[in-house]
C-alpha cells in the first residue's frame, strides 16, 4: 500500500504543478481566465488530498479544526469583500501566506536542529526572514489601505541606515546559524528582528506607492514559499512559490516603470513625503456646469474617459457607466483610458469598471490609447490627477517627471471632474487644469455625473451635431 502511495503522491504533485502553470497561462485572456481558475482549484484539491494520504500524517483533529476555521474565514474574505477593498484583502492574504511560511520554517528549525546542513539552513533562514517581514509589512500595507494606519509616509533622518542595519543584523544571525545550527537561542531574535523590519519597511511608504509595495510583498511571499520547498524538499512548493515570486517581480517592474521609479527609489526614496511642492498660486480656471458638459459630450464624436482612484472613492463608476451607455446609444464612441497605477493595486481600475458593468473591450491601457488622444473630441478626467499631469513630460523639477502619462492634454477639449482644486497624491499642481481647452466640472463625481446623465437623457434624439 505504501509503495503505491510513494508513486501516487509525487505524481499528484506533478499534476498539481502542471495545473498551476496552465491556470496562469489561461489567465492571458478574459475568455479563458475562469477556466484557469478552475484548473488551479483542481490542482490545489489534488495536492491537498495527496498530502493527507501521506503516512507522515497521523493526527487529524487539529488539521480538521484548522481547515474548517480557515474555510470559515476564507469564504467571507472571498465573497463579501467589496471590489474597492480588494487591495487590502490582497495585502492581508500576502500576510497570511507569509505567516504560514514563517511558522513552518520556525517549527522545522526546532525539529531538525542541530543536524541542519548549510544549504537547508540558508533556505530556512531566508524563509523565516522573508516570511515574518512580509507578514508585518503586509499587515501595515493593509492597514494603510484600509485607513487604519496613517497613509502618509513616516520618515526620519538616517532611516535608510537604520533599516539596512536592522535587516543586516537579521541576516547576520542567519549566517551564524548556518555555521552553528545548534545556537537555538539566536533563532527567536531572527523572528523578532524580521517582524520589526517589516513594519519599518512599509511605514515609510506613502499611498501613491502602494501598488508597487503590494507587488513587492507578493514577490517576497512567493519567495518564502519557494524557500519552504527547499527546506522540505518539496518540488511542488518550489514551483508554486516561484510562480508567485515571478508574478510579484513582474508586477513590481510594471508598476515602477509606470511611475518612472526604480525599486531602490520606492523602498528608500520616501516618495509623497512633501506636503505640497512650493506654494500653489491662485490661477484662474474655467468652470463648467453639468448642463454644458452634457451638451459638449453629446456633440462629440469620440470621448475618452480617464478615471483615477478618486472616481472609485466617490463611487462614481456606476454613473460613469450609465453616461457611457447613454452616449454610445447616441452614436458617440466612448473609450476608457486606464493608467497602470490608476487604482491602488495593479489592474485595480479595470476590476472596478468591470464591476460597474463596463465591457472590457472599452478599456484601453496606456500604450494602446495614447495615440488616440489627439483625435478625441473630449477627454473626461474623473478623479485622476498625477496620471494626466503634463508636468511629467516637461517639468524636470517635478517629482513625477518622466512618469508615462495619459496624453489627455492632446485632446481637442478636456473636462475635469474634481471636488476642489486640491493637488493629487504626489502633491503636485497640475498644468492640465489651466489650459485654454480645459474646463473644470466641480462637485462630487457621483452627483455631477448623475446630473450629466439626466441632462443627456432629456435631450431629443436628434440633438447630436451631424455625425
Amino acid at each position: 500500500m505504501n509503495d503505491v502511495k510513494d508513486v501516487i503522491i509525487p505524481l499528484a504533485y506533478l499534476f498539481a504543478s502542471a495545473c498551476f502553470v496552465l491556470a496562469l497561462k489561461w489567465l492571458s485572456h478574459p475568455l479563458t481566465a475562469r477556466r484557469g481558475v478552475h484548473t488551479g482549484e483542481i490542482g490545489m484539491a489534488v495536492a491537498i488530498v495527496a498530502t493527507l494520504m501521506k503516512t507522515d500524517i497521523v493526527e487529524f483533529q487539529w488539521i480538521a479544526i484548522a481547515l474548517v476555521l480557515g474555510t470559515a474565514l476564507g469564504v467571507p474574505l472571498g465573497l463579501l469583500v467589496p471590489m474597492t477593498a480588494v487591495p487590502q484583502r490582497t495585502a492581508l492574504s500576502h500576510a497570511f501566506g507569509a505567516l504560514a511560511a514563517g511558522l513552518v520554517g520556525t517549527a522545522e528549525y526546532y525539529l531538525q536542529r542541530p543536524a541542519i546542513d548549510k544549504t537547508t539552513m540558508i533556505a530556512l533562514g531566508l524563509e523565516v526572514v522573508l516570511g515574518f517581514l512580509t507578514f508585518t509589512g503586509s499587515l501595515m500595507a493593509a492597514g494603510k489601505l484600509q485607513g487604519i494606519v496613517r497613509d502618509r509616509p513616516w520618515i526620519y533622518r538616517g532611516q535608510n541606515i537604520v533599516n539596512l542595519a536592522v535587516l543586516g543584523s537579521a541576516l547576520t544571525l542567519v549566517g551564524i546559524l548556518v555555521y552553528h545550527p545548534a545556537k537555538a537561542a539566536l533563532f527567536p531574535f531572527i523572528i523578532v528582528i524580521s517582524l520589526v523590519f517589516g513594519v519599518m519597511l512599509v511605514i515609510r511608504i506613502g499611498g501613491a506607492d502602494m501598488p508597487t509595495v503590494i507587488s513587492l510583498l507578493n514577490g517576497y511571499a512567493g519567495l518564502s514559499a519557494a524557500m519552504m520547498g527547499f527546506v522540505l524538499n518539496n518540488k511542488l512548493l518550489i514551483i508554486a512559490g516561484s510562480l508567485d515570486g515571478s508574478s510579484g517581480l513582474f508586477l513590481s517592474i510594471i508598476m515602477c516603470r509606470a511611475m518612472n521609479r526604480s525599486f531602490m527609489n520606492v523602498l528608500f526614496g520616501g516618495f509623497g513625503a512633501q506636503e505640497t511642492v512650493g506654494s500653489i498660486e491662485e490661477r484662474p480656471v474655467r468652470s463648467v456646469s453639468p448642463e454644458e458638459t452634457a451638451m459638449i459630450l453629446d456633440a462629440a464624436r469620440s470621448v475618452i474617459v480617464a478615471p483615477g482612484y478618486g472616481m472609485a472613492a466617490a463611487q462614481a463608476q456606476y454613473k460613469i457607466r450609465e453616461l457611457s451607455d447613454v452616449l454610445m446609444k447616441r452614436g458617440v464612441d466612448v473609450k476608457f483610458a486606464i493608467h497602470p497605477v490608476a487604482g491602488r493595486m495593479p489592474g485595480h481600475m479595470n476590476v472596478l469598471l468591470a464591476e460597474a458593468d463596463v465591457p472590457y473591450d472599452q478599456l484601453y491601457d496606456l500604450e494602446h490609447i495614447n495615440s488616440e488622444f489627439p483625435q478625441a473630441d473630449v477627454v473626461l478626467v474623473v478623479g485622476a490627477n498625477d496620471t494626466v499631469n503634463p508636468a511629467a513630460r516637461t517639468d524636470k523639477g517635478s517629482p513625477i517627471y518622466g512618469m508615462p502619462i495619459l496624453d489627455a492634454d492632446k485632446a481637442q477639449a478636456v473636462i475635469v471632474v474634481k471636488r476642489s482644486m486640491r493637488s493629487g497624491f504626489a502633491g503636485v499642481d497640475n498644468e492640465l487644469f489651466y489650459l485654454d481647452k480645459t474646463q473644470m466640472l466641480f462637485g462630487d463625481a457621483k452627483q455631477v455625473m448623475g446630473e450629466v446623465v439626466n441632462e443627456i437623457s432629456k435631450m431629443p434624439a436628434t440633438a447630436g451635431v451631424m455625425r
Binding site: A16, F20, V21, L24, S28, A33, V37, M44, A47, T51, L52, D56, V58, W62, I63, I65, A66, L67, G70, T71, L73, G74, V75, L77, G78, M83, V86, R89, T90, F96, G97, L99, A100, A101, L103, V104, T119, A221, A225, A226, M228, N234, K235, G241, S242, L243, D244, S246, S247, G248, F250, L251, P346, G347, N350, V351, E355, D361, Q362, D365
Partner: protein
C-alpha cells in the same frame, strides 16, 4: 552540491523562468486577478503546513503547523473565490460587433 539541492535549484530556476514567460502574457486588464490567483496558488504551502500539523512531532510543531494550516487554507479559499468573482464581472460588449455607422436604418417598414 547535494543532488537534492541541485534538483531543487533546477526546478526553482526553470519554474521562475516559465512563470515569467507565462505571466508576461497576462494583459494589464487582468493584473488584479493575476495577483489574487498566484496568491491562491502559493497557498500550496498548505501542503507543508499539513504535514507539520499532523505528524505528531511535539506540541510546538503541532501548534505552529495548525496555525499555518489555518492561514494557508484561508488563502486557498478566499484567493480562488475572489479571483473567480472578479473574472465573472469581465464581459464583452453585448451589442453586435462594430456595425456600419447607420444602425437606425434597421427599422422594418411594412
Amino acid at each position: 552540491m547535494s543532488s537534492k539541492l541541485e534538483i531543487g535549484l533546477f526546478v526553482f530556476v526553470l519554474a521562475s523562468f516559465l512563470g515569467f514567460q507565462v505571466i508576461t502574457r497576462v494583459p494589464g486588464l487582468l493584473h488584479t486577478p493575476l495577483m489574487s490567483l498566484t496568491n491562491a496558488i502559493s497557498a500550496i504551502s498548505l501542503v507543508g503546513s499539513l504535514i507539520l500539523a499532523g505528524a505528531a512531532e511535539g506540541k510546538l510543531a503541532t501548534v505552529l503547523g495548525s496555525v499555518a494550516v489555518f492561514a494557508s487554507m484561508t488563502n486557498v479559499v478566499s484567493g480562488f473565490l475572489i479571483t473567480d468573482r472578479m473574472l465573472k464581472m469581465f464581459r464583452r460588449r453585448e451589442a453586435p460587433k462594430k456595425k456600419e455607422p447607420a444602425p437606425q436604418t434597421q427599422e422594418v417598414t411594412p
